[in-house]
């Protein structure tokens, strides 16, 4: 037996060599950490439980490929159990081959069946050649019924991905399945890498030009960019701390904390006059618990803010217009981002809080080309069918489709509130008057001249303004209450408790 044990030990040690001295040296010189150090940094000490370490490639050459270039196992992250897939790019650039795929598939199945989150450490240059060539490609042990998400009707689990190097092919696909993708500044993320693109289309690109953080975040492929790998792991830990281990469990409650900004300052943070901009982040800071705000996809459709936060310790997803970017008008990107965020929150029992200050949807040829119409329809449906509590508050303006895209009445919010400064309607006053009263205005200008035209415009504007005020809306129950800005946090906390009802805080 002692011989067998000695052999086992030798094999286990060899299975952990990663790319060997040479491979690890090159890997480190590129500024990246070896996969096993990444895992050590990520999970709590003494919690790592590995499977498949002794895996080896189907096609073997001279080169030792420990674990078939992937490390899979389970660990605790701040005490929460997670399944981890780490690609080992210190050997054969972390390329994937059948055994490694099966290994990853098994990890995913375990985590999904047992109901805990999956963390993906992406850093791989696509499929391995020749292991995936020819007929082998058609028999690859990829199972999209599990690989992409749980499809057997059981509870869903959160996925978080850290993109820590050039990630193409199935590493990119992995990231694409994740609910949160954080990427290191030096990493890149795209369907395929520059080495495939150049022969295919002739386009010459660097990794950064193709899928660097700026590109990857602008289209929502990645949701956050950090400088170091350590920060990426912090971001994943923070993300998972807002979510339950699976969709059948309530989201975890944290110790409550006072907001960073005194809520009474909301009166002065938001300027009156629909044309002055302000940073919606400062509003959120006066509503959410201090130290509880985590941005999600800041660079994707940035006229809309999406973030996780807590209200008296209870996690929520906040959707808010960002007036300092294109006045907060919603374009196709912003609408798609919002839909992705709404679905994410809805899957994992995070109530939605909408903060409206929206002039409307983007219109025009560019907007149509970008698919605004379809994006709007899908979002409206997504919000309407979301089963978590939905709360809304109009801070300043909420016009037309923009208002509905922010969870207006037709989308079935549990409660809607407005500040006394709210302006409501199907269109903003100036363009609205020109649209609705176009003939009357033209006729007046033609018959009675400029002065009469101006007077009519004034009159129509003051009428429009009066009916845009929130009072009639409240009188007709479009709003559940009109509230003082300083009470927003407290009202939302109370509304949330009522909206959840008495059961466990899990969506029906």
């Amino acid at each position: 037996m002692s011989d067998h044990i000695a052999e086992l030990r030798a094999r286990q040690a060899r299975a952990r060599e990663m790319g060997g001295e040479e491979g690890l040296k090159r890997h480190r010189e590129s500024g990246r950490l070896p996969v096993r150090e990444r895992i050590e940094m990520l999970v709590d000490p003494d919690s790592w439980f590995e499977i498949g370490a002794l895996a080896l490639p189907e096609m073997r050459g001279e080169r030792h490929v420990p674990g078939d270039a992937a490390v899979t196992g389970f660990g605790l992250l701040d005490g929460r159990r997670v399944g981890v897939i780490g690609i080992d790019s210190s050997v054969l650039a972390g390329t994937t081959a059948p055994v490694g795929m099966r290994k990853q598939g098994r990890l995913i199945e375990h985590a999904q069946q047992k109901g805990f989150p999956i963390v993906l450490l992406c850093d791989a240059d696509g499929g391995r050649i020749p292991d995936v060539m020819g007929w082998r490609f058609s028999t690859l042990p990829l199972d999209f019924q599990t690989f992409l998400k749980r499809t057997d009707g059981g509870p869903d689990v959160p996925r978080a991905a850290a993109v820590l190097g050039p990630s193409y092919g199935d590493s990119a696909l992995h990231a694409s399945t994740a609910d949160f993708v954080v990427m290191a500044e030096f990493a890149s993320l795209a369907l395929v890498g520059p080495s495939v693109i150049e022969p295919a289309t002739g386009e010459k690109l660097t990794d950064q030009e193709l899928g660097g953080p700026e590109r990857a975040t602008a289209v929502g492929n990645a949701h956050m960019v950090v400088a170091t790998e350590a920060e990426a792991f912090d971001a994943i830990a923070a993300f998972l701390s807002f979510l339950p281990p699976n969709s059948a469990r309530p989201a975890p409650v944290a110790p409550p904390a006072d907001p960073m900004t005194d809520p009474t300052e909301l009166e002065s943070i938001v300027p009156l006059g629909a044309k002055s901009g302000y940073d919606m982040r400062s509003v959120i800071a006066a509503i959410a618990d201090g130290g509880s705000i985590m941005g999600w996809a800041d660079n994707w459709g940035p006229s809309l803010l999406t973030c996780f936060a807590r209200l008296e310790g209870n996690p929520v997803g906040i959707v808010a217009n960002q007036p300092i970017i294109r006045a907060g008008a919603l374009d196709a990107d912003a609408l798609r981002k919002e839909l992705a965020f709404v679905r994410l929150c809805d899957r994992f029992n995070l109530p939605l809080v909408f903060l409206h200050d929206v002039p409307g949807l983007m219109v025009g040829t560019e907007a149509e080309k970008a698919g605004t119409l379809k994006a709007y329809e899908e979002l409206a449906l997504g919000i309407s069918t979301a089963k978590v509590p939905k709360l809304g508050c109009v801070l300043r303006k909420a016009y037309g489709g923009g208002h509905f895209a922010m969870g207006g009445r037709p989308t079935h919010p549990d409660f809607l509130f407005a500040w006394p400064s709210a302006e409501l309607g199907f269109m903003a006053p100036d363009t609205g008057i020109r649209t609705v009263h176009r003939r009357q205005l033209e006729a007046t200008l033609a018959k009675e001249g400029r002065a009469a035209h101006e007077a009519l415009l004034q009159e129509l504007q003051s009428e429009w303004t009066a009916i845009s005020e929130p009072w009639e809306a409240a009188a007709n129950l479009a709003f559940d209450d009109i509230i003082e800005p300083g009470r927003t946090r407290e009202v939302l906390i109370q509304a949330l408790a009522v909206a959840w009802g008495e059961g466990e805080r899990v969506r029906p």
């Binding site: 919690s47 605790l76 005490g79 350590a230 982040r281």
Partner: protein, 592 residues
């Protein structure tokens, strides 16, 4: 000029020296213990050599290992930094015997100044005023009593081979003198291997003022102005500034002259500091000691003179004459430094070890940060708890203070408690702002206000209750925001050990505990210095049963109740981990 240097130190000073080496195009070799492998200074240097396991005695204090490293690296010179071997004449000699240049004064000068009695004699010969005292080692209690009666109470008992504030005790009367003699001697023996002590007059409400000197091999000596380091705790400096405020021109000139005279007298070479005790009431000053090395606070002098002291040290060691004379040195403005140590001012400055799970340095006009560590690094129990310094400059003292205050506010450290928030409050003390403070102000008058204890400390400290949350910093748009991560209860202890790092496997969930007031445990990782009672001894409540030392500090472990000491489980010299049972007490009422 010297072309290659081994930096025989660690932490911020190693980083500081390596930076100047790089500026001058000098090849720099660093050293590291096993614990420090991969640390910032080892990466900034051109190479780094392992010198032994984590404990300093087997690494940074191991002369042979360092000389070996210097030989392996093939360097021309060795820079000792401060602390560790920097004032060890034997080390300087060993460096020279190995055919290398020691960046510092001659070994004889180090030996002379290291012996406080000899240093005092040298000062007297240079007509530099000294405190009335024993003029030499006191052999025993009766001689000490005799001297004390002559120079007048209270007296200061000091270890001849002490330094860095260790081995100094105040005695107000006969009864205190006996304990002071024993404890100063013991601490010095433990720290420096020599236990001789001497006596001096104890000045009430003194200020600590020192003069930076620079001397070459050609007989040139200049001073770079003075510094005030009166904000101290247990003789350890916490805030240091240049120039010393509220000092008359006459006094300032006299201090500078005294420093230069003494430097000439001992044929000093390189950068040195002559420390004085200033009695502001009587407008007198007394020579304290001369530090034959770079000081922790050298940066404030650099800021007001524009002179890179490390560069000058290297040039002098290379044999170059000083490129400037006294008249060329222009002192401008005011600079102040705060030492950032992993200590909890709200818990008697208890040193703490742990991982710096976040570290963000303030970046602002006129602010300088000297740090030896980065985010993710551990502050280890084996080493000094100071892990960095924040300095600020201003044309006026008030501007420098304001800038330092803001910088300290912006400094972000998660993972260990630090001195920063407390020092920020000291900057706002009216007596400090008006420069009316003295070396006892901090301990006597500036107790940390419990109201202002930073809340994050509870989240990050390594003692006491396990934290329920930890904090990370994440981008949100253009800003960076703190995000609190609640920990799952089941593994808070695990997470805690992850954050506290250190020896990594250390079980830090064990804290100060007294089981039903009868079992006494070690409050932190420490070494047992001595036992004061044996098993079976009867003691009163509060009697010292044993002495622990950790992170440069002695700690008396007292009987929690009156009674009999039971099962004393440790011996002098033994290392104990936080939570180790030291002894149990059988209460007196139970025995009767």
């Amino acid at each position: 000029m010297i072309g290659s240097i081994l930096v025989a130190n660690r932490g911020e000073i190693a980083v500081r020296i390596i930076r100047t080496c790089r500026l001058l195009g000098i090849r720099a070799a660093a050293v590291h213990s096993d614990f420090d492998e991969g640390a910032l200074w080892t990466r900034l240097a051109d190479e780094s050599l392992r010198i032994g396991p984590a404990p300093v005695a087997q690494s940074y204090l191991d002369i042979a290992a360092i000389i070996d490293a210097a030989r392996t690296a093939g360097v021309e010179a060795v820079h000792p930094g401060y602390g560790l071997l920097s004032e060890n004449a034997e080390f300087a000699r060993a460096v020279e015997e190995a055919g290398l240049v020691f960046v510092g004064p001659r070994p004889e000068t180090i030996a002379l100044m290291g012996d406080k009695t000899a240093a005092r004699a040298a000062a007297i010969e240079s007509q530099v005023p000294v405190l009335p005292g024993s003029d030499g080692v006191v052999a025993d209690f009766s001689e000490a009593m005799h001297v004390a009666e002559r120079i007048g109470w209270p007296v200061a008992v000091k270890a001849s081979f002490g330094g860095g504030g260790r081995g100094i005790r105040r005695a107000g009367d006969e009864s205190e003198l006996e304990e002071a003699l024993a404890s100063a001697g013991r601490e010095a023996t433990a720290a420096f291997g020599r236990g001789e002590v001497f006596l001096e007059r104890y000045v009430d409400r003194p200020r600590h003022v020192e003069v930076q000197v620079l001397a070459d091999h050609h007989g040139n000596v200049v001073h770079l102005g003075d510094r005030d380091c009166s904000v101290q705790r247990r003789h350890q400096k916490l805030l240091e500034e240049a120039p010393a405020p509220a000092l008359g021109d006459e006094m300032r000139d006299a201090l500078a002259k005294a420093a230069i005279d003494l430097s000439h007298k001992v044929e000093y070479r390189g950068a040195g500091t002559v420390e004085f005790l200033v009695d502001p009431q009587r407008e007198e000053f007394f020579f304290l000691e001369m530090n034959t090395r770079l000081q922790v606070e050298h940066g404030v002098s650099e800021l007001v003179t524009g002179i890179d002291l490390v560069e000058q040290q290297i040039r002098v060691a290379s044999g170059e004459p000083l490129a400037f004379r006294q008249g060329d040195i222009d002192l401008r403005g005011s600079a102040i430094q705060a030492r950032i140590a992993a200590e909890d001012p709200w818990d008697q400055f208890r040193p703490s070890s742990g991982r710096l799970s976040d570290l963000r340095l303030p970046s602002a006009p006129w602010v300088r940060c000297d740090f030896g560590f980065e985010r993710g690094d551990a502050v280890a129990p084996h080493y000094d708890s100071m892990f960095g310094k924040v300095l600020a400059y201003g044309l006026t003292r008030a501007a420098a203070l304001a800038r330092l205050g803001q910088a300290l506010e912006e400094l972000r450290v998660v993972g260990v408690p630090t001195t920063a928030p407390y020092l920020r409050s000291v900057l706002r003390e009216p007596d400090f702002a008006a420069a009316r403070h003295h070396t006892g102000s901090l301990e006597r008058d500036w107790q940390p206000d419990p109201e202002h204890r930073p809340t994050s400390q509870a989240d990050t400290g390594s003692d006491g209750e396990a934290p329920q949350v930890r904090q990370v910093s994440l981008p949100w748009g253009a800003q960076s925001v703190a995000v609190t991560i609640p920990l799952e209860r089941s593994s808070t202890a695990r997470r805690l050990s992850k954050m506290t790092g250190g020896t990594r496997e250390r079980d830090v969930a064990l804290a100060v505990e007294k089981d039903g007031d009868s079992t006494v445990r070690a409050p932190m990782d420490a070494v047992v210095v001595s036992l004061r009672a044996a098993t079976g001894a009867e003691v009163a409540k509060g009697d010292t049963v044993l002495l622990l030392e950790a992170m440069k500090m002695e700690m008396e472990i007292c009987a929690p109740v009156a009674g009999t000491v039971q099962s004393l489980a440790v011996d002098a010299g033994q290392s104990v981990q936080s939570g180790t049972v030291l002894f149990a007490m059988e209460p007196a009422n139970a025995t009767s």
